[in-house]
C-alpha cells in the first residue's frame, strides 16, 4: 500500500485543537492528515486542570468560552461517544485578604459588563457552596455556569471520533518547516519527508512559533512551565472548579475522586526549558502550602503524582486564531496561554469556518488576529 502523504488539509499538531478541528473538517467531507511529533495530546491538551471557565476571561476571547459552554460542552460526551466528565457546577475564586477582594471585584466587574453571570459572595456564602473551605476565606467570586471536564478523555475523544470519520493521524514525525509553492503554503517538511495539502493548519502549541518562522511569520509567544499534583481518590466532596485570587493553586475534584490541583513556584518564567516536561522540586510543596491555606482539611490526603506542562504564553495572554494573509493556505491557532482547553470545542468551529469559507461567522474572533502586535513607539 502506498503511504498517504497528500490531503485536502494537513494539520500540524495532534493536540485538542488539531484533533477537534480534524473532526469538524472531516464532518464537512474534507480529507485530513494530522501530524504529531510525540503522542496524541501530549502537550498542553493533556497537561491542564480541565477548567471550562468563562469568568476572568478577556472579553476578546469570552465569546469562544460562552459559545462552547452554551452549545457544545453539555452534549459533548454524546457527540464523541466518550465520557468527557463535564460538570457544570460553577467556578469559585477565593480571597483571603482585602487585596484579594479587590482582584476579585475587578474580575467580576469586567465579566458582568460583558453579560456573564458572575457575582461577589461573602466567605459564609462561599462555605455554603463548599463547606470544606477554611474559615479564613473572607470573600469569593462565583460564576454558576462555569465547570470542568477531563482534558485527557476530551482530547482522546476528539481523536477517536476524527479517526472514525476517516482522518489519518501520523505520530512520531517532527515538522521542520512549511514550504510555499507559487506563493501558497502547500508542503509540510518533516524528518520523515514531505507531506502536501491544499491547506495547512498550524496548531502545535509553542512549537508553532518555530514552524511559523519558516514562512516568515512570528508572534510573541513563549513557553512557561506549570505544574499539577494529583492526589489519591477521596470520597466525593464537591463538583465546583476552584481558583484563588492570589494564584496559589487552581483545580477540582475529578469524577474519579482524586484532586487535580495546579500551580507554580513563582519562578516558572525562568526555569530551564527542556522538552521533557520536568517537574521542579520547589513547585509541589509550594502548591501544597497554597492548598493548606484554603483547604486545611486536605492535609492528610496523599499526592500520588505530579506533572508539568507548558503554557504557550502569548504576550497579551490571548490566542492567535487567524488565516495568514501573507501566506495563503496557512491558518494558525496557538498562544492559548494556559486557558485553551475550555474553549477548544468552539475554537475548532471557528477554525473550520476560517478554513472553508475564509471567515469565522458563528463566533467573533476578529480580535485574535496574528497582526495585532505592535511596537511600543
Amino acid at each position: 500500500m502506498i503511504e498517504k502523504r497528500t490531503a485536502d488539509v494537513i494539520i500540524i499538531g495532534g493536540g485538542i485543537m488539531g484533533c477537534s478541528t480534524a473532526y469538524r473538517l472531516a464532518k464537512l467531507g474534507l480529507d485530513v492528515i494530522v501530524l504529531e511529533k510525540k503522542e496524541i495530546g501530549n502537550g498542553g491538551s493533556c497537561r491542564n486542570a480541565g477548567g471550562v471557565r468563562q469568568s476572568a476571561r478577556d472579553p476578546k476571547e469570552l465569546q469562544l468560552a460562552m459559545y462552547a459552554v452554551a452549545n457544545i460542552w453539555p452534549t459533548l460526551s454524546e457527540e464523541l461517544g466518550v465520557n468527557v466528565e463535564y460538570h457544570q457546577k460553577g467556578n469559585i475564586r477565593l480571597g483571603l485578604t482585602e487585596k484579594d477582594v479587590k482582584i476579585l471585584e475587578n474580575h467580576t466587574a469586567k465579566s458582568t459588563k460583558v453579560g456573564l453571570d458572575v457575582k461577589m459572595i461573602s466567605g459564609d456564602e462561599a462555605r455554603e457552596i463548599c463547606p470544606y473551605m477554611s474559615d479564613e476565606i473572607i470573600a469569593a467570586s462565583w460564576c454558576p455556569t462555569d465547570g470542568h471536564a477531563n482534558p485527557l478523555k476530551t482530547t482522546l475523544g476528539f481523536y477517536k471520533r476524527a479517526l472514525d470519520l476517516g482522518v489519518t493521524f501520523i505520530s512520531g514525525v517532527e515538522v521542520l518547516g512549511i514550504k510555499k509553492i507559487k506563493g501558497e503554503a502547500r508542503i509540510v517538511e518533516t524528518d520523515d519527508g514531505d507531506y502536501e495539502g491544499g491547506q495547512i493548519l498550524l496548531c502545535a502549541g509553542y512549537d508553532s512559533r518555530r514552524i511559523a518562522n519558516t514562512v516568515g511569520i512570528d508572534a510573541p509567544v513563549e513557553r512557561q512551565v506549570n505544574e499539577v499534583l494529583v492526589t489519591e481518590a477521596m470520597p466525593h466532596m464537591f463538583d465546583i472548579m476552584l481558583g484563588v485570587a492570589g494564584g496559589e493553586f487552581y483545580g477540582h475534584q475529578s469524577e474519579h475522586g482524586s484532586f487535580v490541583l495546579g500551580g507554580n513556584s513563582g519562578l516558572q518564567a525562568f526555569t530551564s526549558n527542556t522538552d521533557h516536561f520536568m517537574t521542579n522540586s520547589l513547585t509541589a510543596p509550594c502548591i501544597s502550602r497554597g492548598i493548606m491555606k484554603y483547604f486545611p482539611c486536605l492535609k492528610n490526603v496523599k499526592v500520588v503524582r505530579t506533572w508539568a506542562g507548558y503554557y504557550d504564553q502569548c504576550i497579551d495572554v490571548l490566542p492567535i486564531i487567524d488565516n495568514i494573509k501573507e501566506v495563503p493556505g496557512l491558518t494558525v491557532a496557538f498562544g492559548f496561554s494556559g486557558h485553551g482547553f475550555g474553549i477548544s470545542p468552539a475554537v475548532s468551529i471557528a477554525l473550520s469556518e476560517l478554513m472553508t469559507t475564509g471567515k469565522s461567522t458563528t463566533i467573533d474572533i476578529s480580535q485574535l488576529g496574528y497582526d495585532r502586535f505592535k511596537s511600543k513607539g
Binding site: E3, K4, K37, K38, E39, I40, G41, N42, C46, L152, K153, T155, L156, Y159, K160, L163, D164, G166, T168, F169, I170, S171, G172, V173, D192, L229, V230, T231, E232, A233, H256, T279, L282, A284, P285, C286, S288, R289, I291, M292, L298, K299, N300, V301, K302, V303, V304, R305, T306, W307
Partner: protein
C-alpha cells in the same frame, strides 16, 4: 518516538474469553478495556493510560505496567520494547499534602 500511522479499523472488534481479567488492580481496568482502547486508536502506553486510567492509581503502574505493555504490543503487533513505558512521576511513594507543605527550605523570607 517511533512513527505510527493511525487510521480507523475496518474490521470489527473481536472479544476474547479472558477480556474480564483485571490488569490494573488500583483502577480495576480489564484486559478487554485495554484491547478496546487500542482498537479505538490509543497506540502508546501514555495514551492508553490517559484514556482508561490504567497505571494512574496508588501504585502508579508499578504493578501492572509490564502487563499493559504486553497487551498493547500484542494488539499493535509490535515488540513490547517498541511500545515504551508510561511516564515516571514524582513522588515515588505517595506523600501527604501536609508533609509536602512542610518542605520550606527554599522559601523566600518575608
Amino acid at each position: 518516538m517511533a512513527k505510527i500511522i493511525r487510521t480507523a479499523h475496518t474490521e470489527p472488534f473481536v472479544e476474547k474469553p479472558d477480556d474480564d481479567m483485571i490488569i490494573c488492580r488500583c483502577e480495576e481496568i480489564t484486559k478487554g478495556e485495554i484491547r478496546r482502547a487500542v482498537y479505538d486508536g490509543m497506540s502508546t502506553m501514555n495514551e492508553v493510560k490517559r484514556y482508561l486510567r490504567s497505571g494512574m492509581g496508588l501504585c502508579q503502574g508499578q504493578t501492572c505496567q509490564r502487563l499493559v505493555q504486553n497487551i498493547i504490543a500484542a494488539e499493535m503487533k509490535m515488540k513490547p520494547t517498541e511500545v515504551g513505558m508510561i511516564q515516571g512521576r514524582s513522588p515515588v511513594r505517595p506523600v501527604e499534602i501536609g508533609i509536602f507543605s512542610n518542605n520550606k527550605t527554599d522559601v523566600k523570607e518575608e
